[in-house]
Symmetry: C2
Subunit: 204 residues, 2 copies
């Protein structure tokens, strides 16, 4: 039997609320925020991630079978602009890549909307960092519950699932529609993902 | 009886496919692309909009009652970075603001995903431009079906609906969760939206 992989949306929702949405006061189009740690090794949450490069948004995504949830959740991924430019050149991520997964509640009826869902309050965020000198696997996850957070263990479900199933360098490029063609072109898709495409089917 | 407002997602899907997703080769964090017209007055489609500032994504949003569609559609809105910075300062949009609505297909099962939806091919895009010297209402919509497109008439359903229901300056800021609090703070919410919040309910 395969291991049970919890959906990251659920994990993040359980990690606790970051409070209601706030407006980033950072200047747009600024240079990428560096990967910054506190003296005791926590990652400092990058406050300006909403002006980074958008990769994609999913709704209610889960990696185990189940019914649609009653509370819809959107998950959106941003990456720092410098690393995005690096990916376009090479088809993979440079060291010090920093990605932010943001989870927001969905709302159905509201204003003139009658069908479908739009996004409202942020309920969680997680950061994924490539830092080959610091992490054994090269990457670490930081569920963000405050100003700075400790990395999940390298054996966490996030790490294991990403290492086993991610299309490029432990990242789910199969769900980022503008990057997947570039990875295919640069032949940087993982052997595991290429095998999975043939059996489970990939992103069309 | 109220007029029947078609959902923009449907309008865009019918407007024809722009083909599969392509990787933007634009440098991220570049200055905003100017609003550019051809000699015969068509708007030139801004190719680098995917590196602009992300506002939000909805799924299957529609402004008339109806069942959930069989083909799920995501709609995502980007704005040029200069105008985004202007909004953060003032709570409304400067002249020459340019926003892009991108519509992509949703896919359920694929790779390890079992529940919910992720985004795949782009099926349409529409641009919304503020140019007070050029358009009677100050704004115009351009359904993008090629390299450059003509504006919809100022009496189009898009124009009418946005003028009647948009929270800020004919734009649906009620669906952009990081901008709505700023508009409230700067008291730039339209009288129509404030009235609608009390009756139909706003974004929570």
């Amino acid at each position: 039997m395969p291991s049970r992989y919890e959906t990251y949306a659920v994990i993040l929702a359980l990690a606790g609320s970051l409070g209601s949405s706030t407006v980033s006061q950072a200047q747009p189009a600024a240079p990428a925020a560096p990967v910054t740690y506190t003296a005791d090794g926590k990652l400092v949450f990058p406050k300006d991630y909403r002006t980074w490069v958008y990769l994609s948004t999913g709704m209610d995504m889960a990696y185990v079978e189940g019914a649609d949830p009653k509370q819809h959740l959107f998950d959106t991924v941003f990456v720092d602009p410098t690393s995005y430019a690096g990916f376009l050149k090479t088809g993979t991520w440079p060291d010090k890549t920093i990605m932010v997964l943001e989870v927001r509640k969905g709302q159905g009826r509201g204003s003139i909307n009658k069908v479908g869902q739009f996004q409202t309050a942020r309920v969680g965020a997680e950061v994924h960092v490539k830092d080959v000198a610091r992490f054994k696997s090269g990457w670490a996850f930081f569920p963000m519950t405050g100003e700075a957070s400790e990395a999940l263990p390298q054996t966490s479900q996030c790490n294991v699932c990403h290492e086993q199933h991610a299309a490029v360098d432990t990242t789910f490029v199969q769900f980022y529609p503008t990057l997947l063609p570039r990875a295919r072109e640069m032949k940087t898709l993982s052997a595991a993902y290429l095998a999975e495409e043939k059996t489970a089917g990939g992103a069309r």
